[in-house]
């Protein structure tokens, strides 16, 4: 019986092994790992999986001659994310939100006047009417119509309620109206302003163009330079307001995120985190192998690494200072964040960097774990070979594989790889960043604030509920239902999870979510697969690998293995998802390897006799 205790999953494999090493596999089982890998907390999980594997094989615990456990040095990873840009509006120069139902079409330029002050407006003025909290649409429309009748040119409106179309429908001459402006009371009055609403399906053209704004307000080049960031931030909106305040400004500032120090065996280098993921990873490549990493204290990255170290120290009961970071994966990401100073709850997509860090701890408690397992199960417990060797042995039971072979074990916290040449030693690496990082990226990039929702989005295809009785899957096919879908799923994007259809609370489209999902998988797994193969391949040359076998929980994903196969296709190697023992798919490699290794050793000793 082989047992593989992973970070997330514990797997077992039962086999009959004859005296001279001949072997028949009987069954397999898997369950969640209890506690941190490699600690005595694992016992409950192991006992459970062992029990289920045995009952699947129709055998009893008393028949087990040996339980083989992998030599698991816990590899723990931590995650942190920090925004490196921030959008700030000082005074209110613009309203950049995108209400769902603005009213009217076109561009209006005039001076902002509170709706209640409209009656006092002299005729001949060009006016943008600002209607505050509680203003009734009929009153607003009547007020505007009245002012227009008196010769006041009301050319647009900014309103608090979701009333734009209601107002426009009641105007004698329709004008563009931007509604749902939450903080309308802070709109500066008596200032030149422009309101633009595009036709449905189109985006604004004047206020998103610096020279458009310059034309509207008659700006000189210096003033145009000041307003340029406003134009940029309005690109892609269906409606917008720009108000010309004397000192108002919008700034996209870079937050000094601090420097990351990467300490390698030979070299030590610093890199600014706000230089982005590519730069960080390039620096890492120059100092590899990494022995530790440190963040400038008092900066964001300092805080990030401190949090990672804290978690690690906590989890492993290691002293804080003994925690050594042995790999880092930096990923460029973005986070939807509320714009400071916005008037309508505007969000901006701020750039951010996510860091996954990997700590390899000492293999202290393994013997203790073996002992406790022995107490619990009764049978002999042997700590088997190195995890990577065992995984390779198990992977080679996949039909169609041969050495030189590399495995890619795509887990939750780490991406592990190992490579076996015809007769050379096994090389292996543990890289930071895997399934959990993908889940985190999906969660934060879509602003879901729910890891469960993000995990489901990662694992299952999307669809949109197009009516009460049918959904359209992300590939365009339709599926019909006899019973009506719940109203809260209507027109929403849903995930087709195993447990049924789950609506996602977001305004994002199917395509947008799909794109975030695929790009997160790309940024984590494709990047890590290439990094890992490069590090285990002889001479760093991926072309010298004959076969790549993809294993682990994330190899069950419906698109990650395809993406990796695509990425390595150019190297002339065979890459596919493992099928351990021709039956287990990408699961059970280490457990199978433990048994196979044990049997082979028996065989050798029999031959040697």
């Amino acid at each position: 019986m082989g047992v593989d205790i992973g970070n997330s999953t514990t797997e077992a494999c039962v086999a009959d092994v004859g005296e001279s090493g001949q072997m028949a596999y009987l069954s397999a089982a898997l369950g969640r790992t209890s506690g941190v890998k490699g600690t005595v907390d694992n016992v409950t999980g192991v006992a459970d999986v062992v029990g289920r594997a045995l009952s699947a094989a129709g055998r009893d615990l008393s028949e087990v001659s040996a339980v083989l456990v992998n030599e698991a040095t816990p590899v723990i990873s931590g995650l942190a994310m920090e925004t490196i840009t921030e959008t700030v509006i000082t005074e209110s120069t613009m309203i950049g939100h995108n209400p769902e139902t603005p009213g009217g079409v076109g561009l209006g330029v005039g001076t902002t006047v509170a709706f209640t002050d409209l009656p006092g407006c002299p005729s001949g003025c060009d006016v943008i009417c600002v209607a505050g909290v509680g203003a009734d649409f009929e009153d607003v429309a009547a007020g505007i119509n009245g002012a227009v009748a008196r010769g006041v040119r009301v050319v647009g409106a900014i309103v608090h309620a979701d009333d734009a179309n209601l107002i426009v429908n009641r105007l004698r001459t329709p004008v563009p109206v931007v509604d749902e402006v939450t903080l309308v009371d802070r709109v500066p009055l008596s200032m030149p302003a422009a309101v633009e609403v595009a036709e449905p399906g189109r985006t604004i053209r004047t206020l998103s163009n610096s020279y458009g704004i310059a034309t509207v307000f008659g700006l000189d080049p210096e003033q145009t330079r000041m307003i340029a960031p406003v134009a940029r931030s309005l690109v892609g909106n269906r409606s917008a307001v720009v108000i010309r305040t004397p000192t108002g400004d919008i700034t996209g500032r870079r937050i000094p995120a601090g420097a990351l120090t990467l300490i390698g065996e030979q070299a030590k280098r610093q890199v600014d985190v706000d230089a982005g993921a590519d730069e960080i990873m390039a620096t890492l490549r120059r100092v590899r192998p990494l022995t530790d990493a440190a963040g400038e204290s008092g900066t964001h990255v300092g805080g990030m690494l401190a949090r990672v170290r804290d978690t690690m120290a906590d989890l492993t009961a290691m002293p804080y200072d003994a925690v050594r970071i042995q790999d880092v994966l930096a990923v460029d990401t973005f986070v939807p964040q509320r714009v400071t100073g916005g008037l309508a709850g505007e969000f901006a997509l701020e750039n951010a960097v996510a860091l996954a860090a990997m700590v390899r701890t000492s293999k202290g408690p393994m013997e203790l774990l073996a002992e406790r397992l022995h107490e619990r199960l009764g049978s002999d417990v042997l700590i088997g070979g190195v995890e990577a060797d065992m995984a390779l042995l198990g992977a080679l039971t996949t039909p169609g594989t041969a050495k030189p072979v590399a495995i890619l074990d795509l887990g939750g916290g780490s991406t592990d790889a190992a490579m076996a040449m015809e007769d050379a030693d096994v090389h292996s690496v543990h890289l930071a960043g895997a399934g959990d990082l993908v889940t985190n990226l999906i969660d934060s990039e879509l602003g879901l604030e729910s890891r469960e929702a993000a995990e489901e989005i990662k694992k299952f295809p999307l669809a949109k509920a197009e009516s009460f009785f049918h959904i359209r899957l992300e590939d365009g096919t339709a599926r019909f239902f006899d019973d009506p879908l719940p109203a809260d799923a209507f027109a929403r994007v849903v995930v087709l999870a195993d447990g049924g259809m789950r609506p996602i609370r977001t305004r994002h489209s199917v395509e947008r979510i799909r794109q975030v999902r695929r790009s997160a998988k790309q940024r984590v797994f494709v990047v890590n697969a290439l990094r890992a193969l490069e590090q285990v391949a002889p001479g760093g040359d991926i072309r010298r690998i004959g076969f790549v076998v993809v294993l682990g929980g994330s190899a069950l994903d419906f698109e990650i293995p395809d993406m990796i196969a695509e990425a390595v296709a150019g190297f002339g190697i065979v890459c596919g998802t493992g099928n351990v023992r021709g039956t287990e798919g990408p699961r059970n490699a280490v457990a199978t390897g433990l048994v196979a290794g044990y049997a082979a050793a028996l065989g050798t000793s029999v031959e040697g006799r």
Partner: protein
């Protein structure tokens, strides 16, 4: 007879709150969907279901004498209305009746 291409709003003549009807129709109008008012007696669900059958868009709204509002869809079983709520929620229910036609997710009440 070609059905009217509008959300049908059927209201019990016993309803006294003018406010409720105004909010309801404002919600529909803001979403840019045509509606058609008629009166009829009965419970809100009953009225809504019948209104949905009569609507060329397949969406009906019923308002009973107490101002209970119900949105129904022609293809839903008669006892499973899409949305129901009190008169105080009429504005948002109006938006949501229209959104069933437009095919965008329903508006959530501000919390």
């Amino acid at each position: 007879m070609t059905p009217v291409i509008a959300v049908m709003v059927w209201c019990d003549p016993g309803l006294r709150s003018r406010r409720c009807m105004r909010d309801l129709t404002a919600g529909i109008e803001e979403e840019g969907v045509p509606y058609h008012l008629e009166s009829g007696t009965g419970g809100s669900v009953e009225l809504a279901y019948a209104a949905a059958q009569a609507s060329g868009l397949g969406v009906g709204v019923g308002v009973d004498a107490d101002g209970n509002v119900c949105v129904h869809h022609a293809k839903l079983p008669s006892d499973m209305p899409a949305v129901t709520g009190p008169a105080s929620a009429a504005r948002i229910i109006g938006h949501n009746a229209a959104r069933l036609v437009v095919g965008v997710p329903l508006k959530q009440p501000d919390l």
